[in-house]
């Protein structure tokens, strides 16, 4: 009897503790202190990619003249940043959070809406008119600007001049084409050269998003409703996707490194992707001078433009001590400094979304690797045409459902059913 009563007592104690800490103040933070901000006026920033985002922060630091400003940059993989922000912010304490954090545009709304008070509005520190229009919707919420737009994911069609010519096409044949025309060229290239036109990872439907955005369409509309069943842009994009696969124009890859290998090894004739892929393409010395750049193809639908976006992220300031200093730093560098953007292009190869920057010298640099093309300038011109899209909250969630349905589609399920089923499943999950 005594044993049981003691156990009961212990369990009672547990429930009591559970009830107590249900209040706001509780819930300790796991990994703290090592990155604890604001104690000695030091500003902490989290970002990923040593050679890109972090390099950009370092360039910004060089351009910022404030003796009292100390920035500590902590490198985290993007997945880790997402995890740490989620665990930290949801625990209700801001301990251990950074002052500045980089968030991918397609994820931003999910953070801004999930943790409304965690971020600091930075409207007063820069002018949104100076930035590419398409960057504003994903980085603002409820009429306030939270993100300072950073790099663009403006897309282009990188292609191998030798293989395209062997198939009987010239640069002009690739300029301002539709995806339908692209699939035909792809077929010719594969038939005549035996090389696949593009490489695709079945788990990554980025190419569908690129296609959809050329007409300003997405999985959801600005009201947050899921628009898959009657989405003509997505329908057309899926048809092209299947055609490319059916024609054997695609080399299937399984992850990022095999994707990089596919074009570095000369196994594909083109890479439709974001501008940030350029350094990876030019990393292969043996293909120097063989690559050129054309605008991204567009969908057939009315209003389609030959400009789209893939990836890209922005800087956010957390609502903790030091927020003014952090916002000030971002505003004075990323938010308004043309010279900084010149260095950014020259030293890092990153194209910002700050419109006045594209008039500088660095942007007109003729890239030897790409046949002397001014690729940075071309990208910055296309960037201004990118249709604005509200990425909403559930891009990645919906895409996981769609990826499964796409497999069914490739195995013969009708496109109507695929879209209708994806719609139903997505509505079940995200409403």
């Amino acid at each position: 009897m005594k044993k049981t009563s003691l156990f009961l007592l212990l369990f009672g104690l547990l429930f009591f503790m559970a009830a107590c800490s249900g209040e706001e103040n509780a819930a300790g933070n796991e990994e703290e202190n090592d990155t604890n901000a604001s104690s000695d006026g030091e500003i902490i920033a989290w970002a990923w990619d040593q050679h890109f985002n972090i390099a950009a922060l370092n360039v910004a630091l060089e351009h910022y003249e404030d003796e009292n400003f100390n920035l500590e940059i902590i490198e985290n993989a993007q997945d880790d940043i997402v995890q740490r922000l989620n665990t930290g912010l949801s625990s209700g304490t801001m301990k251990g959070m950074p002052n500045i954090v980089l968030i991918e545009d397609q994820r931003a709304q999910s953070f801004l809406q999930s943790y409304p008070d965690a971020f600091y509005p930075i409207d007063d520190y820069f002018s949104t008119d100076d930035f590419a229009d398409y960057k504003i919707a994903p980085t603002s919420y409820d009429g306030k600007q939270y993100g300072l737009p950073f790099d663009t994911g403006v897309t282009g069609l990188f292609y191998r001049t030798d293989l395209i010519e062997e198939a009987g096409y010239t640069h002009d044949d690739l300029v301002d084409i539709t995806w339908g025309e692209f699939t035909e060229i792809a077929k010719d290239v594969t038939d005549k050269t035996g090389v696949a036109m593009i490489s695709l990872d079945p788990n990554d439907l980025g190419i569908l998003r690129v296609m959809m955005q050329t007409v300003g369409s997405w999985y959801t509309n600005p009201e947050g409703e899921i628009t898959i069943a009657n989405n003509d842009a997505l329908r057309e994009a899926l048809e092209h996707y299947k055609t490319l696969l059916d024609n054997d124009s695609v080399k299937i890859v399984s992850d990022w490194s095999t994707f990089l290998a596919s074009f570095n090894n000369g196994e594909v004739a083109s890479v439709p992707s974001g501008n940030w892929i350029a350094p990876s393409i030019s990393a292969e010395d043996s293909q120097n001078g063989l690559w050129k750049l054309a605008p991204i193809p567009r969908l057939e639908a009315a209003g389609a433009v030959n400009a789209s976006n893939l990836g890209g992220s922005s800087w956010y300031v957390l609502n903790i001590d030091g927020k003014e200093a952090a916002a000030e730093f971002l505003g004075k560098t990323f938010g308004s400094n043309v010279d900084f953007y010149q260095d950014l292009v020259e030293e890092v190869g990153a194209i910002g979304t700050y419109k006045p920057a594209s008039e500088g010298d660095a942007y007109t640099f003729e890239n030897e690797y790409f046949n002397g093309q001014q690729i940075i300038y071309e990208f910055s011109q296309w960037m201004e045409d990118i249709p604005e899209v509200d990425y909403g909250l559930n891009t990645y969630g919906i895409e996981d459902i769609l990826a499964a349905e796409v497999q069914n589609y490739l195995n013969g399920k009708s496109l109507d059913d695929v879209l209708a089923d994806t719609q139903t499943q997505a509505e079940n999950q995200f409403k």
Partner: protein, 308 residues
Amino acid sequence: MNTSSSYKAKPRNRQSMTTLRFKKQTIGWLFIILSIIGIGLFYFYPMVQAFLLSLQSGMGANHEYVGFANYVRLLNDPAFLTALSNTMIYLLVQVPLMILLALVFSVLLNDPTLKFRGFFRTAIFLPAVTSLVAYAVVFKYLFSPDGLVNELLLQLNLITQPLNWISDPVLAKITIILAITWRWTGYNMIFYLSALQNVDKAIYEAARIDGASTIQQFFYITIPLLKPIILFTSIVSTIGTLQLFDEVMNITGGGPGDATVTISMYIYNLSFEYTPDFGYAATVSYMVLLLVVVFSFLQFKVAGDDQK
């Protein structure tokens, strides 16, 4: 009574038997109270909290109580059902396969006439000490379209085109099953090997004299005698498979589509990949608990009838 005789001289030894026993018990409790508090605080308290969380829903930090709505949602959630059926496929194919393999290996390696026994035992056990992520990444490259496995099969003329081990729904599952079998067979084998040391050799001698073949010895002596340990390993493996995460995350990322997503991976996606809904994620994790209980119970029922 003998022990207390030495205290007889002291004046305060007039306790009744009950108080003495109570004192003994208190001392016993004192010994374990720290671990009880520790386990309660770090085990049961989070479980209670997780249960309370599973009754809430909402984005990130702004969740509210919704009663059992999450549990209703769970039963109608096709993504969860896919994850569940994938996990069940792993469980039903992989666990029996691995247990059988481990048994066969352990019996082979228990043969005293076998040369280099130590080497083989180590070789088969070694995978169990590798890091989950590290071996998963290695498997991913072995099974990539131009990886070693395809290369080998091509050289042997068993296939004419590289197989899409990772991007084909069925092959991807097979890859995962191969990977976990490689990783865990040796681990289970060690349990059987140690259990075999306790089996009396005379039983096998008697069986041989009676004319039992090696196969018969395996099925009628080894397996029945190892039954308790087989039960133990199959429960541990079942629990491990229900919590499968690292391999799938690193080898296929759940793909192609959702063909290899497991329940644990779905929990991860709900928390960190999609707009976070920790309440619903906690609900799914309670589902894992429920499954573990049900399966362990079933296994006890099926195999544990002659437990003493």
